[in-house]
């Protein structure tokens, strides 16, 4: 890790030496490790150290972005020259107003020194104890355990100077026997909060409930665990909860603000500062995170902005800029669904005939404006009859509008959990969604697994 002073000094020097009209320099450093196991043995164990510098230069309204992991002075000079050369041949973007000016950033702690104690031996020891529990229960275990330290520093020529150090740990576990499989996942910034026994108990509770039976596809009452709910929220976030999707008229929110879209029990928002989630004090433009409510008691309220999309509407950024050049829009990454009044047990007991879903797999968009998605259930799908979980069922394919499903929610759990896929492509930056379990009175399953 470079630490605050060294990161900011490097970036300030770069920005000061830039001949561009405006310059932004963003540095991410990473020191991480990941251990994977399958069939109850460790088959992959890796460690990585890297740093990435992203330079965004502005000449008038011409913008170019250069990324490098070479931080020696001659390489940095070369990167700056390259960015300038690209900007000179770029077309002006008349909608661009300016890089952002500094705003006060809240001080929050996102780093736990305990992360540094997770040596390869310690990781293996924790996995070993968990594998032994799984074996003791007659199951095989697979999963991944990863811990990392990440720094994000941003300096721009208008005075932004932001730095934050993050720690993260995620663990996901699948246990399986001949009859079925169960899943549990955990993510935190504080490794002291991780208890492998709790994780093992949760996953093991999903197996050995008898032989899987096959049920016919169709519409059923469902209980969706927070893992499944978080997947629905992530798709809503990508498809419709941000300004670019609305500005391009491709969001399900278009022409719906102020109108009831889903059940009044539903409130969904983004809050980078809420300590129940994985906190992030500022976005990738160095602007403070603001809470944004998307659906309040079922009514469409607002969307997230970065400086470009905010500039188009004469508004301020809500602090949702992603890594440049972000052409996908200011997609929110600190999602929350408000909890309800029920316990998970009460919700199950209220189901006459329905399906209990732990998580979804390989979900994808079918029809964006209606938020129709499809995917499979996985690792813990059960038939509920007369208020009791009866038996595991073969995995089902669902094809359903998230909006329609959220219109049919009849109960929400009080308890929520942080859900994260954990794994990240390219640069490590672990995010999480805080979700409750929900009961949906009609959810469409369109197919069944052949196995």
């Amino acid at each position: 890790m470079l630490e605050r002073e060294a990161c900011l000094r490097l970036l300030k020097r770069l920005v000061q030496n830039s001949p561009a009209d405006q310059t932004e320099a963003l540095l991410m450093t990473e020191d991480s490790a990941l251990t994977r196991f399958a069939g109850s043995v460790i088959h992959q164990h890796v460690a990585e150290k890297n740093q990435t510098l992203i330079l965004r230069v502005v000449l008038g309204k011409r913008i170019a972005v250069v990324t490098t992991n070479l931080l020696q002075i001659p390489s940095l000079k070369k990167s700056l020259q390259k960015a300038m050369a690209l900007a000179r041949v770029q077309q002006p973007n008349e909608e661009f107003i300016s890089l952002p000016e500094p705003k006060p950033i809240p001080e929050i702690h996102t780093y736990s020194r305990a992360i540094e104690s997770l040596t390869p031996n310690k990781r293996v020891k924790m996995i070993k104890s968990l594998l032994s529990r799984a074996r003791g229960a007659g199951t095989r275990a697979s999963g991944a355990f990863s811990n990392g330290q990440v720094e994000v520093a941003i300096v721009n020529s208008l005075g932004i100077e932001a730095y934050q150090k993050y720690s993260d740990l995620f663990f996901h576990l699948i246990v399986e026997d001949e009859r079925g499989s169960g899943y549990a996942g955990f993510v935190t910034r504080d490794p002291d909060r991780f208890d492998p026994d709790v994780l093992a108990r949760e996953a093991l509770a999903k197996v050995s409930k008898g032989e899987s039976i096959q049920i016919e596809p169709g519409e059923y009452e469902v209980i969706l665990e927070p893992y499944a709910v978080s997947e629905l929220l992530s798709f809503m976030s990508y498809l419709g909860f941000h300004a670019l999707a609305v500005q391009e008229e491709r969001s399900f929110f278009c022409n719906q603000f102020g109108k009831k879209m889903v059940d009044p029990r539903i409130t969904i928002y983004d809050d980078g500062l809420d300590p129940e989630g994985l906190q992030i004090p500022f976005d990738f433009e160095g602007l403070p995170k603001k809470k944004v409510v998307f659906l309040e008691e079922g009514v469409a309220k607002g969307v997230t902005y970065d400086s470009l999309t905010a500039g188009r509407e004469g508004k301020g950024s809500t602090g949702h800029g992603l890594l440049p050049p972000n052409t996908e829009g200011p997609i929110p990454i600190n999602l929350f669904m408000r909890g309800g009044e029920s316990s998970l047990g009460e919700m199950v007991r209220s189901v006459r005939k329905g399906i209990y879903v732990t998580r979804f797999h390989y979900t994808n968009v079918v029809e964006p404006m209606k938020a129709v998605i499809t995917g499979m259930t996985r690792d813990g799908t059960f038939l509920i009859e007369e208020g009791e979980i009866k038996s595991p069922i073969k995995n089902l394919r669902f094809t359903e509008s998230i909006l329609r499903a959220l219109s049919r929610v009849s109960a929400i759990s009080r308890e929520r959990r942080v859900c994260s896929e954990g794994t990240v492509y390219s640069r490590r930056f672990v995010t999480g969604t805080v979700a409750p379990a929900i009961k949906v009175d009609g959810f469409n399953f369109s197919g069944v697994s052949a196995l």
């Binding site: 991480s32 490790a33 994977r36 196991f37 399958a38 069939g39 109850s40 043995v41 460790i42 088959h43 992959q44 164990h45 890796v46 990585e48 150290k49 890297n50 170019a64 990324t67 992991n69 070479l70 990167s79 690209l86 041949v89 077309q91 973007n93 390869p120 293996v124 996995i127 697979s142 991944a144 576990l173 699948i174 399986e176 391009e248 491709r250 278009c254 050049p325 052409t327 797999h361 079918v366 029809e367 404006m369 129709v372 499809t374 499979m376 996985r378 995995n395 394919r397 094809t399 359903e400 509008s401 794994t423 990240v424 492509y425 369109s446 197919g447 069944v448 697994s449 052949a450 196995l451």
Partner: protein, 480 residues
């Protein structure tokens, strides 16, 4: 660099490793994205580093670093050894990593025009011209054009004495038109969805795509889709165009034949497979018309290279022969399950990732039909083009796809356009229902630059040769 690499491999040998390799990789990317007449992204990326993999005390260790110096390499080797030592405490059966003869060689993508030597202005002109034509259509609210150029220079060296330099160049481009009206969003793309078509070729590949020449059609079809009738829901005959067949191959053949998935090492993330090694040589995967090869040698394929990241030479391997499963994608560690040696499919997404079994070019061999003949012989059905959505279960058996556009087939002729087409099926049933594949005149390579697998996540660039194909009794119109 060579001295540094030999020094670190000698150091690994002194530590009495069973095996070690090092990859030093430099990647250079340039991407341009045009949206609604504006260049919304003009980027240049450079990335350099090395990764060391050791097999020691019966376990693997991998560590990597971005400072390519002697000191850093020594520290990274030390860390990789420490990791292997720790992992050896939870190891399973002995790792059977087959030996390979040392190879000293180099490979370079054959190309005519280096895309990194073409001026940015020329690239912008090409994209802006195509984008401008799309924007002439008033119903199109989002016009997009994309171009990407990628260069990977990598050196692989191992304690077995291999030393292989490779320079792989890829590029590709595409356009899309999104028509929006009254809450309806419809997209058409060319030459393929999700940014275009990609190949290990030079800039001549991009010039040959003729983006501007297709822009008006693409925009027009997006507009027509707004008022097209919905895809009917029924069981019918399906003809897929080559690009959709490519993704069908990718998801329902390419991934299931990865032996690491079959052995369960992707169980906690990407999933496993409905196949097992005992099915090789016996299992009827598809009809007799279905012949699939894994061909890492096919000129220009996006999954074409000289050597994989374990130092094994690129190969052409039959996978399905007249519908029967004959082989799987293997590595040096997994091939013994088939009593064979690796067929060279281990690739890593850069210096900071370990190699995994990845698809190369998984190609469906051309059949005998002209497309017109295939449609002409079809009394009733649907002709679907260009992927829009994909989903498949963790065993790769229950799939559902959506395409951008479809046309009804009635009495051997293409009829009305349909919007939001979807179809679903069960992998072996579907491939066994294939009763026609179009001939070489309709066959081409499709590059898939976004194949995800592994933890930490890795994106592989793979290829699929495909021609249109016909399938009987398929459920279409799976919509809520």
């Amino acid at each position: 660099m060579k001295d540094l690499i030999h020094h670190i491999l000698d150091a690994a040998k002194l530590k009495k490793v069973d095996y070690a390799d090092i990859r030093v990789v430099r990647r250079q990317n340039e991407e341009i994205e045009v949206k609604k007449g504006k260049v919304v992204a003009l980027t240049g990326d450079e990335d350099f580093g090395f990764g060391i993999r050791v097999l020691s005390q019966g376990a693997w260790g991998f560590a990597c670093g971005s400072r390519v110096t002697k000191t850093e390499m020594e520290a990274v080797l030390k860390n990789a050894l420490k990791i292997a030592r720790a992992s050896s405490k939870v190891r399973g059966k002995e790792i059977q990593f087959h030996r390979a003869s040392p190879v000293v060689d180099h490979y370079r993508t054959p190309l005519s025009i280096d895309p990194f030597r073409v001026s940015t202005e020329a690239k912008l002109d090409l994209l802006l011209k195509a984008d401008g034509i799309i924007r002439r259509n008033g119903k199109v609210k989002i016009s997009e054009a994309f171009m990407g150029s990628y260069k990977i220079e990598k050196t692989f060296a191992s304690t077995e004495g291999s030393y292989i330099d490779q320079e792989i160049v890829e590029c590709g481009a595409g356009i899309s038109a999104t028509a929006i009206e009254g809450g309806e969003v419809q997209v058409r793309s060319y030459p393929n969805s999700f940014r275009g078509n990609f190949a290990t070729k030079g800039y001549e590949w991009i010039e040959g795509l003729g983006l501007a020449g297709q822009a008006e059609r693409v925009a027009g079809e997006a507009e027509q889709l707004l008022s097209a009738k919905p895809c009917p829901s029924k069981v019918t005959t399906l003809i897929l165009d080559g690009s959709q067949l490519a993704l069908q191959i990718h998801e329902s053949i390419g991934h299931p034949i990865e032996l690491d998935r079959i052995l369960g090492t992707e169980a906690s993330y990407a999933g496993t497979s409905f196949l097992n090694p005992g099915m090789v040589g016996q299992f009827r995967y598809g009809s007799e018309w279905v012949n699939i090869v894994a061909d890492a040698t096919f000129p220009g394929g996006l999954g074409t290279f000289g050597y994989d990241d374990e130092g094994i030479k690129a190969q052409r391997v039959p996978i399905l022969s007249r519908g029967i499963l004959t082989n799987l994608l293997t590595s040096r560690e997994t091939a013994h399950h088939l009593k064979k040696e690796s067929n060279g499919t281990m690739r890593a997404d850069g210096w900071n990732r370990i190699p995994l079994i990845r698809m190369t070019n998984i190609n469906a061999e051309p059949g005998e039909w002209a497309l017109e003949q295939m449609i002409g012989e079809t009394e009733e059905g649907l002709f679907l083009n260009t992927n829009r959505s994909w989903s498949i279960d963790d065993k790769r058996i229950n799939f559902q796809f959506g395409t951008e556009i479809g046309w009804e087939i009635k009495n051997g002729k293409l009829g009305e356009m349909v919007k939001n087409p979807t179809y679903t099926g069960i992998t072996p049933q579907f491939w066994n229902s294939c009763d026609a594949i179009a001939n070489r005149d309709h066959w081409q390579m499709w590059g898939t630059p976004n194949c995800g697998k592994g933890e930490p996540g890795q994106v592989a660039h793979v290829g699929h040769g495909a021609a249109p194909a016909r399938f009987r009794n398929v459920q279409v119109g799976v919509m809520k």
